[in-house]
């Protein structure tokens, strides 16, 4: 103990040192336990593809190679095999996704809804609160129509950048790619609605892609170089009608041709997605970006006698959904439990560690992805429908429209009168009562609240002069009859009763949550005794 003068202070110093470092260590552990929230360093891209049939994608089993880039993305994503949207109409379905609310509750039920009717607590608005730069590059005109619809002001809300691809209708929104390259340092939420799959099929598809899926040695019939709406709306049950009589019956190759052109639209969309992913990787953004790719709604491709989105069968409402998480977390998982469009917003917010809006009707799919328990999915999905096509005909198309109906002449104006009788004249319009549906992975039950009206006004009935019969209640066994061809409502009365109960319970709940006119109050306030 020679150097005691040096030793003791050293010893004391060491004691103090270790004690304090113990304190500091515990404090750091406590601090470290509060993790950095994901929204501080995660970008989000929402790719919404209009009119895309999930089963025309390779990753969902399509035999044709229409989607090599999407398939590659799918391998790094979670893929949902039973993703159901709440409506077959583009803005209605999309708003449901943005608000996580059924259409009647958020107020956007058709193309006519105006800004004050609609709930604006949307995904972009909430992300903005958390410092995101919101940019939309739109290839779907449904979100910025001018004229009598005011959807622009609704969807534009909370976007710092809102760029329609105006140069050509439904062109691919390539401006997204440039923007990403020049804004890679920002924390962004990008929304890319894509309209290239929507009719006119193959409108924006250049050769050689345009005819890549055409049947061999096929020569398109007259008027069918462009598969426009004008053409498609005259096809019913494989016959092409003008002047109320079938001009020809579609042959197998004709149908193949139509589908081939539809698929070429998917092909070109897929190329664009490939470019998008490439830009992200080039700018070192791919790893920390959450990518959600979904169809806004699907398309009936002849399964019910027509080629368009017209009703709420699985062809239109069962959609593609892929979610790629940052750093490919959860990659390769396939979820077969049913999920809904209203679940997308809660999932994004949950992953980003942002509280979910209490008014959201959907739920986060993160627990489902983690544990794959059916409790965390939607056993029942709900869909609503208004007969928009006939409604639009009464307002936009037959009256002052670019479409030619001179072929049918006087009968057309009679039909127009009939439609206006039912739907009214703008601005005093009204929709027919809704069709509502409930779906599980096994059953779909559809209730048509006014089937007589639907029969009377049916466009198909008009052009074909066929008597259209619509069942008030439709029940489909989705396992045995996935294309919903065979209404088995009389075979399973118990299922019908049970599902109707669930459906009407949901219907009442949604009516209750609808934005109401609060001035309609009853009685007096309670006196102060």
């Amino acid at each position: 103990m020679r150097n005691i003068k040096i030793f003791c202070p050293t010893y004391l110093g060491l004691i103090l040192f270790f004690y304090i470092s113990g304190c500091a260590f515990a404090e750091t552990v406590n601090q470290g336990l509060t993790v950095t929230p994901q929204h501080q360093n995660t970008n989000v891209i929402l790719i919404s593809i209009d009119t895309l049939r999930y089963d025309h994608l390779g990753c969902y089993g399509y035999q044709r190679s229409t989607s090599s880039n999407i398939d590659k993305l799918a391998k790094q994503s979670v893929l949902f095999e039973n993703f159901i949207v709440q409506a077959y109409l583009t803005p209605v379905s999309q708003m449901s996704i943005f608000t996580s609310q059924y259409p009647r509750v958020n107020g956007l039920v058709s193309f006519e809804s105006s800004r004050q009717d609609v709930s604006l607590i949307t995904l972009p608005r909430i992300l903005k609160y958390y410092g995101y730069t919101n940019a939309a590059f739109l290839g779907s005109p449904e979100f910025y129509f001018g004229a009598m619809v005011t959807l622009n002001s609704i969807f534009r809300d909370s976007f710092d950048i809102f760029l329609p691809s105006c140069d050509q209708e439904r062109a691919l929104p390539r401006s997204a790619l440039e923007w990403i390259a020049t804004n890679s340092k920002k924390k962004f939420f990008i929304w890319v609605p894509i309209g290239t799959v929507h009719w006119p099929y193959a409108l924006n598809v250049p050769e050689p892609y345009r005819s890549m899926f055409d049947p061999k040695d096929y020569k398109p019939r007259d008027n069918t170089q462009n598969i426009s709406y004008e053409m498609l709306k005259r096809i019913y049950r494989n016959k092409y009608y003008t002047n109320f009589s079938p001009q020809y019956e579609l042959e197998k190759k004709d149908v193949e041709y139509i589908l081939g052109r539809y698929d070429s639209g998917i092909f070109i969309t897929d190329k664009f997605i490939g470019d998008l992913i490439r830009i992200l990787k080039q700018n070192n953004l791919f790893d920390n970006t959450m990518i959600i790719l979904h169809s806004i709604h699907g398309e009936d491709l002849g399964e019910h006698g027509y080629f368009q989105h017209y009703d709420i069968y699985d062809t239109e409402v069962k959609n593609a959904l892929l979610i790629k998480f940052p750093r490919n977390k959860f990659q390769g998982k396939k979820i077969s439990h049913q999920v809904q469009g209203i679940d997308i917003m809660p999932t994004i917010l949950d992953y980003l560690d942002i509280p979910i809006n209490h008014e959201a009707q959907g739920k986060s799919l993160v627990p489902l992805i983690k544990y794959n328990r059916s409790d965390d999915s939607s056993e029942f999905a709900y869909i609503t429908r208004i007969p928009l096509w006939e409604f639009l005909l009464s307002r936009l198309i037959l009256g002052n429209s670019p479409y030619e109906h001179s072929i049918e002449g006087k009968a057309t104006s009679q039909y127009e009168t009939l439609l206006r009788q039912h739907f009214g004249v703008y601005p005093d319009y009204k929709y027919s009562p809704y069709d509502i549906a409930v779906r599980t992975n096994k059953w779909k039950l559809i209730v048509r609240m006014d089937k007589d009206l639907l029969e009377k006004i049916s466009w198909w009935g008009f052009i074909s002069r066929e008597k259209i019969t619509i069942d008030e209640v439709e029940l489909y066994d989705l396992e045995k009859d996935p294309h919903e061809q065979n209404n088995v409502v009389t075979k399973y009365p118990d299922i019908v009763v049970r599902f109707k109960e669930k459906l009407f319970e949901w219907n009442a709940e949604n009516d209750k949550r609808q934005p109401k006119d609060i001035k309609n109050s009853t009685g007096a306030i309670i006196p102060y005794p």
Partner: protein, 475 residues
Amino acid sequence: MKKIYLSILPLSFFLFFGGCVNQRANINKNETQELISNEFKYKDCNIIFVSLDALQAKFVHTLGYPKKITPTIDRLAEKSFVFTNAISVSSWTVPSTMSFFTGVYPSEHKLVNKFSLYDPPLKKIANLKNLSPRLITLAEILKENGYVTAGFTGGAGVSGVFGFNQGFDVYIDDVKFGNLDYSIPGALAWLNKNKNRKFFIFLHGYDVHGQSEPSGGFDYRYVDKTYDYKFKGTKKEQEALREEGLSQGKIILRDNDVKFWRAVYEEKINRMDSALDRFLTEIEKLNLMQNTILFVVSDHGTEFWEHNRFDHGFTLYDELIRIPLIIKLPNQATGKRIADQVTSVDILPTILDLLDIGVSGSVKNQLRGMSLTPAFYNLKISRDVYAESDYRRYTYKRALRTVDGWKFIYTLENKDKELYDLRNDPGETINLFERRPRIAYELEQKLFRFIKSTGQDEFGPWVTGNYPVYDSQAQ
């Protein structure tokens, strides 16, 4: 030398570990509370619970009011625990007071209006036993534990008919908006008779309430000499102002009228303070204080045009929900001010804790607040607090007041949202809802988690009614 260095190694581990443990011990308050559990226990002590209806915390001198209008309360505060940030769960008498006695929020005890059914000619008076049969009140619990119980009140909003008399041996409410001068004699007589038994007494008066006038009339002791007495301060005038505020959304008054009404309020407070002094003096004479815990609270405040209206119940601003909360323990000689934000549903658990009364699981589950006694040991118990009001089918509001000074108010019938930064804007005059959207969003989600937790359906329906209600409003 080597041996010494070797001994340092295990020692250093011990010290390091000790440092860790020290840090962690500060974090886990509950454990500490259980360690020091015996100091604030007063088994079989008496409870005197005084509720000074409609007294705004801000107007109490010891809580910051510049004028010395509350000498008794100030003196009492010097020897008591004074909570300077106590928040009531509602802004009017019926729901607030029932929350004192049940320890649950108004939406849970459901005594949210005086009528549970009002559809003239159909009328049904709200009653706790009918609305929430499974709830047990403070008086009932104490009675089960051998206490004699009595209430001496000013009637009206705390009438026994609503269920306030549950568990009380004696419950006086046979006056409408009675003052302490009415309640005190009966209370003293009863105390005299029962001073040798363990008792719980609820003393209540409407002295500062708008519907009460001082006996003998006002003397306008604080009114500006130049005032022209356009108003006289009568209950009819206050009622008219209240109803006008409701039907118009705001009242237009001259500055000197507002000053007058606040001066009238000050007078009522000053006179109430004297009545309280008389009561406390008599209690001393009866030698009860060494075995008694005294609570002095208010159930809510009163608005005097802070938001352009009069009276209470229809908003959740601070002038209505900040209440005095004073707890004097037996033989307590020194005071302590506690700034932690606490809620009025903490009162029931505090009483049970102080009296060391064990309760069954179902009662424990009933309690939505926590005991305030850890604050007596300097432990931090500040929490976010919530308030509710379902006012006469006129409006339905819910509020969240956070520990870091934010107030978020949501109006259910029209989804109006208000956000106030109480630190910089204590008067709640600037609605920051659009300027601070992220905070507003997060507080809204918190508030709705609370709303869901009380079993309410956020979609109501929140039915509102029409004006006018009765003739007196036509003035």
